[in-house]
């Protein structure tokens, strides 16, 4: 019984972890152990940025916000802020997705333009609308420490990002008859930072590794127990009951009755074969698997 419970638990744990692996959670957890990239230091090379790089730093200014609607069967609108990164040579732009409930702080830090996503209270026609719009071109917020993972934008997402930049005057597209200037496009990185608790992800990765280990140990343990029991059964030639040794073959009828769930008849058969009184024989039959492997 214990073996069945252990193997079922092991299989459940491994299936659960396999599901997390299929959903890409494992990739994120393992990426949390990468060396963090400081986007805002002059030495960082943003052209070397890769997906799932860990990012840590302090944001002092943001370039406005835009929305993007995912449509993967279910529509979901996400809000992004534009993050300008000044390096020694030039300024790069990428997206940042706030996921830790600090949207208002981010808004205070953002240089507003009329193309920004309006907060819901403005969209619903709240009287504070005027105040919000008056704050255009002002940066009032405190610097915000961020950490998260670098995610790659898909093609549509990147197009939406460029459209917003174009509308807000960050970027002027070349006339259609001229080639797009590659060096200008390099400024607009097709990445966004998705905020995440890196320490939590590291903990989750450690927990997941331990869970897989536990699952494998449970499975291996139950398999070993089954093999051990099988070998012990094959080796067993004698059954010892209350200090007396009986040939296993002599107790075969008792075992047949036990296997057939005719326990009272098994008690009687055991009592007849061994000479035990019925009460003692009944106790032996109740724990028959301890005697007959």
């Amino acid at each position: 019984m214990l073996v069945v419970v252990a193997s079922c638990a092991g299989i459940s744990i491994l299936l659960l972890e396999f599901m997390f692996w299929c959903l890409g959670e494992w990739r994120i957890w393992m990426a949390a152990f990468r060396e963090p990239v400081d986007l805002f230091s002059s030495s960082s090379d943003l052209t070397q940025l890769e997906e799932l790089d860990v990012v840590r730093g302090t944001v002092r200014v943001l370039g406005g916000s835009y929305s993007y609607t995912y449509d993967n069967g279910i529509q979901d609108t996400a809000f992004y802020f534009v993050l300008p990164i000044d390096t020694a040579q030039e300024t790069f732009y990428m997206g940042i997705r706030e996921t830790r409930g600090r949207k208002e702080d981010f808004r205070k830090l953002a240089v507003r333009s009329k193309h920004d996503v309006k907060p819901m209270r403005i969209v619903m026609g709240n009287p504070w609308e005027d105040d919000f719009l008056k704050q255009e071109e002002q940066v009032l917020g405190e610097p915000i420490n961020i950490e998260g993972f670098v995610q790659k934008m898909d093609e549509n997402q990147y197009r939406r990002f460029l459209t917003w930049l174009e509308k807000s005057g960050y970027y002027e597209p070349e006339p259609s008859d001229r080639q797009i200037d590659e060096s200008q496009m390099k400024q607009f990185l097709p990445y966004f930072i998705e905020e995440a608790d890196i320490a939590y992800c590291q903990k989750a990765a450690k927990g997941a590794c331990l869970a897989v280990l536990a699952g494998m140990m449970l499975l291996a343990g139950s398999a070993a127990a089954v093999i051990f029991q099988k070998r012990r059964r094959e080796r067993q030639q004698y059954v010892t009951i209350h200090g007396t040794v009986y040939l296993k073959a002599h107790l075969e009828p008792v075992n047949d009755l036990v296997m057939n769930i005719e326990l009272l008849l098994a008690v009687q058969a055991l009592s007849r074969i061994t000479g035990l009184d019925m009460t003692a024989a009944e106790k032996v039959i109740r724990r028959w698997d301890r005697y007959w492997y």
């Binding site: 769930i261 326990l263 009272l264 008849l265 009687q268 058969a269 019925m278 106790k283």
Partner: protein
Amino acid sequence: MGSKDSLIMLLGMLIVGGPYALLIAGGLFVNANEKRYMAAQRSTGRDKQRMLDFMQIVMKEYYGDYTYVAGGNRISTGRYSANYYPYIVGFNEKDLVIISYTARNGALICRNVLPVDWNCMRLKYHVFSKGVKLILILGKTKLRIKVNRVVMSDGSEKFDTPLGIFQENEVDMLIISLLRMQKKTRTGVS
């Protein structure tokens, strides 16, 4: 609706309803067989005689000391499966003997004889309109036997119910003797 659609619908109905139809047909067939077999047993009493002959062989010189009734116990072994264990209960005013048997190729084979030892075993019973249910208890181990006034069978050995017996009088006698045994164990007066 075209003929092709009708054919597909018919095929679908056959696939969905076919197994149920087969199950119902099988049930009706077994029921009809059982009724026919039991009608024959009511007029001839052949199975009852078979049981008594069998008991004569098993019990030998003690045969006359007991009255015999057939019963059984169904133990479920899974969601859709159950085992049926047929027993014959021999009883008189003092004792009970449980005989476990099986039928093979038309012959009844004794598997075990269990005389009830009142020193270590207890007996409980429930009387129903159909018969009586006996529960023999030894420590934490129980043996349940349901003894019906009419033991149904279709005569086949497939379902471990080989005997079809009408035993109304015997079951009434069993109930009376159980009552007397109970009175004796409670008051100590025989």
